[in-house]
């Protein structure tokens, strides 16, 4: 029984007991008083009557007259005269009067009226004794009415007490419920503080919980800072703060390989000409300042263009990946022109050359890099501030107008030309955690089902992501109903901005509650970083359905998401760019270990994406991840199956 219920029950019992007790005491006292009054009246009247009778000189007629007069004018039940020899000489008795009080009440609380007795004599002659018994009807009625009045009064008092009790219980209940709610959210991994209630015991409890939450937050923030430091050490070039070669290559590979990577884009390589000579002529400090200026110029792009990232490949080489196709050469020229204006300030011979290539989804890394290197070599050969591109201008992507894309996506949705593919996510024991199920769309009637990289940017612009995500969830739910395997569905950032999206998902999940418990929903890390409130709201909406919520492609900004612990997440998938080549990079392994520890302390499961080979897989298990997915994991499954 709940605490409040118990308090109510006790309050009720106490009130009932107080009610019954006070009515009983009142009744008993009243009955006692009435009984005593009756006894005294009987006794006194008997003595008075005996005194009168003793003055009648034994005249029977006079005595009878006196007794009759007393009986007729008074309130008597019975007057009896018994002679000295024991015979009854006179008796007057009244019929019992009708009562207001019910029979059961009279039987329950009888009023015992003791008859008054006195001796009658004539001179020395003892005549006998007189017995007087008064009416007790009035006493019963009096008692009955008094009990009713007392019961009514006590009932009113009891009601008032119950009302006061209700107020008090409510005053306890509100803060108690708040505290319980806080405890529940702690259980879910949401660390919220609540207002302190006025009741001192509860206030102490709430204060303790609040301070615990605050301490936990401090601990998490500390961990996050540490992880961020590790990330910088692992991924960044210490001089310029740009991504290191390993990290940049990992990011690039991810863009090329990932389902929802970029369909097309550009790669610009930038080389400082004759850096060794510059070091000598300018001095290390000036050379370093120049490198800093170059990296600032590059970083300006990443800040302006979403999805653009840069890196320092080695001492003199920089690289920039552009998320849009067809602009690589133009960008390279703008960049070198900008540097042409800046670099002479550091020294006359300070100069760069740039090579630009277009990239397409699925093109092998090695091929792309060799094309880019060749372009750069040609530019270097031309001299300062030259720009060269690889001969082929971009992949042969079919360019349609925006309207055309929208129509094709609509048609595919309407015809149901969509499908989920499934990639296994396995734990260290090889057991399936869930199937990661990206959505593929058949854009052309007889074409292939295309990955998100082909259509997602267009779907975002056409505001179709919410519809696509809902269809993907529906497919996953029915697939779960069929085979019972848990499935993960990706949600696009664009969908979150749709105000009705979260509640529609919730309704969809609540319709198939059993399958809903097997659903894992994930949003990109960028969603949590840029749209914190939207993700938190989504988490709140999904909570009752039993579906899990997680972040995918995470790692880069995870340490910088403040209040990550308030999101109420269940799991995090670490980006392929981080797991890629982990076995050969001790610094990064340290970062991943710290990241996993931090996420585990928030009760989040950690999955590594894009695992390519056995060495990376082993290194990741060592870092403590809970699950892995990627080409290597899928291959293991195939060979095992």
């Amino acid at each position: 029984m709940s605490l409040i219920g118990q308090i109510w029950l006790k309050l009720f019992l106490v009130l009932v007991m107080a009610f019954l007790g006070s009515v009983a005491v009142h009744t008993d006292a009243m009955r006692e008083t009435l009984q005593t009054q009756l006894r005294l009246k009987n006794s006194d009247n008997a003595t008075a009557l005996a005194l009168v009778l003793s003055q009648q000189k034994g005249d029977a007629a006079l005595m009878e007259l006196a007794m009759s007069a007393q009986f007729d004018t008074g309130f008597y039940r019975r007057i009896r005269f018994v002679a000295a020899d024991g015979t009854q000489r006179f008796q007057r008795e009244a019929a019992p009067a009708s009562l207001d009080a019910p029979g059961w009440f009279e039987r329950l609380l009888p009023i015992e009226a003791v008859p008054g007795v006195a001796q009658v004599s004539d001179g020395w002659r003892a005549l006998g004794r007189i017995e007087v018994l008064s009416h007790d009807t009035f006493a019963h009625d009096e008692l009955w009415h008094a009990v009713k009045r007392a019961a009514a009064a006590m009932a009113i008092v009891g009601l008032l007490a119950a009302l006061a009790g209700a107020l008090i219980v409510n005053r306890i209940r509100r803060p108690l419920e708040l505290t319980v709610e806080q405890a529940r959210s702690l259980e879910r991994g949401e660390y919220v503080t609540v207002v302190e209630p006025s009741a001192p015991e509860l206030r102490r409890l709430v204060r303790a919980m609040n301070s615990m939450v605050a301490r936990l937050k401090l601990v998490f923030e500390g961990q996050a800072t540490q992880v961020e430091t590790l990330r910088r050490q692992a991924n960044c070039d210490p001089l310029t703060g740009l991504a290191s070669r390993n990290h940049f290559m990992g990011q690039l590979a991810t863009v090329l390989m990932r389902e929802d990577g970029a369909a097309e884009g550009g790669l610009v390589l930038l080389r400082v000409l004759d850096l060794a000579e510059l070091n000598r002529s300018l001095g290390h400090d000036a050379a370093d300042r120049m490198l800093g200026a170059i990296s600032q110029a590059l970083q300006a792009y990443t800040e302006r263009v979403k999805g653009c990232f840069v890196g320092r490949l080695n001492g003199s080489d920089f690289a920039m990946c552009l998320p849009v196709g067809g602009v690589s050469e133009e960008t390279a020229r703008a960049l070198t022109e900008g540097l042409r204006a800046v670099l002479p300030a550091f020294g006359k011979s300070a100069a760069v050359a740039a090579g630009a290539v277009e990239l397409a989804h699925g093109v092998p890394m090695a091929q792309l890099m060799s094309e880019a290197d060749m372009a750069l070599a040609r530019a270097e050969a031309q001299g300062a501030f030259a720009v060269e591109t690889s001969g082929e201008a971009g992949a042969a992507l079919v360019k349609l107008g925006e309207g055309g894309w929208r129509r094709r996506l609509h048609e595919a949705l309407a015809d149901g030309r969509i499908a989920l593919v499934a990639f296994p996510v396995r734990d260290a024991g090889g057991r399936l955690m869930h199937l990661e199920c990206p959505l593929r769309v058949q854009l052309d009637l007889d074409g292939t089902f295309e990955p998100a990289a082909r259509w997602l940017p267009l779907a975002v612009r056409a505001r179709l992501t919410a519809a696509l995500d809902e269809r993907a969830l529906a497919l996953a739910l029915s697939a779960i109903d069929d085979d019972g395997q848990p499935r993960a569905v990706n949600l696009a950032i664009g969908s979150l901005a749709d105000s009705g999206f979260a509640s529609r998902l919730r309704a969809q999940l609540l319709q198939s509650p059993r399958a809903a418990r097997q659903v894992w929903l994930e949003v990109p890390e960028a969603a949590a970083a840029d749209h914190f409130e939207l993700v938190r709201e989504l988490g709140r909406q999904l909570r009752p359905t039993g579906a899990r919520l997680g972040l995918e492609h995470a790692g880069e900004r995870l340490g910088r998401i403040e209040r990550l612990f308030e999101l109420g997440l269940d799991y995090v998938k670490i980006d392929a760019a981080i797991s890629h080549g982990l076995s050969r990079d001790g610094n990064r392994a340290g970062f991943v270990t710290g990241l996993v520890a931090m996420l585990h302390s928030l009760s989040l499961q950690v999955v590594a994406e894009g695992v390519n080979d056995a060495a990376d897989a082993a290194a990741l298990w060592q870092c403590g991840v809970d699950g892995q997915t990627g080409p290597w994991v899928s291959a293991q499954v195939d060979s095992a199956g």
């Binding site: 005593t36 006894r39 005294l40 003595t47 005194l51 000295a84 001796q119 004599s121 020395w124 003892a126």
Partner: protein, 219 residues
């Protein structure tokens, strides 16, 4: 003193037998009550108890005379104001014996309870308010109380009085004119009437003295 033990044992057995013969008094309680009241009460009770114990063996007329004499001899007449510092105080038998003083109703009450203790039925006894003429016809008239004994209901009573030492029939007491009589018959009916803790008892002189006498082991 070896012989004293069997003698004491026999005495206990005899007393136990006597009390089982329907005597309406509680020897132990009376002795304890006397201890509480005072040394003269203890001595008087010691003298009174053989008298009460022998009642079964003697005829009532003799018992009346000895009880009458016992109290007339041991108690000196005083009015209540002198004896108790109170205008009209009804003392219990042991209180009267302890003071050795009392007025007319104290005599009558002590005799009444002693006779009841000796086994005389309450119906035969009545306390009577009388108008007493003192010093022959035409003498001073005063309110007085005596104890009347009715051998049969309706018969002429015998009067136990402190003015005249001898127990006489009512017809031989022309100096007394009865006004009103009462006894405790019927008063013990009902639990509430008898309880010593009943607050109403103290409101009536007669009831109060009844309760006190009962507490002292009479009746």
């Amino acid at each position: 003193m070896a012989w004293a033990r069997p003698a004491a044992a026999i005495a206990v057995v005899v007393l136990a037998l006597a009390s089982s013969l329907g005597q309406a008094w509680d020897q132990d309680r009376m002795a304890q009550a006397a201890q509480r009241v005072g040394p003269r009460a203890v001595a008087s009770v010691r003298a009174l108890q053989p008298l009460l114990a022998s009642a079964a063996a003697t005829d009532e007329r003799t018992l009346l005379a000895s009880v009458n004499d016992f109290f007339n001899r041991r108690v000196v007449f005083t009015d209540d104001l002198a004896a108790w510092g109170s205008d009209d105080y009804w003392a219990s038998p042991l209180e009267t014996l302890e003071r050795g003083q009392g007025d007319c109703e104290d005599y009558a009450i002590a005799k009444y309870f002693s006779l009841m203790a000796a086994g005389v039925p309450v119906a035969k006894l009545r306390l009577v308010y009388v108008r007493a003429t003192i010093g022959g016809p035409g003498g001073a008239v005063q309110a007085h109380m005596v104890l009347a004994y009715y051998a049969q209901p309706g018969a002429e009573p015998l009067i136990l009085d402190n003015l005249v030492g001898e127990v006489r029939a009512a017809s031989r007491r022309p100096d007394l004119t009865p006004v009103f009589s009462f006894n405790s018959e019927g008063l013990w009916q009902g639990a509430a009437g008898a309880a010593a803790g009943d607050p109403t008892v103290r409101l009536s002189r007669w009831r109060e003295v009844l309760a006190k006498a009962r507490a002292e082991g009479f009746q």
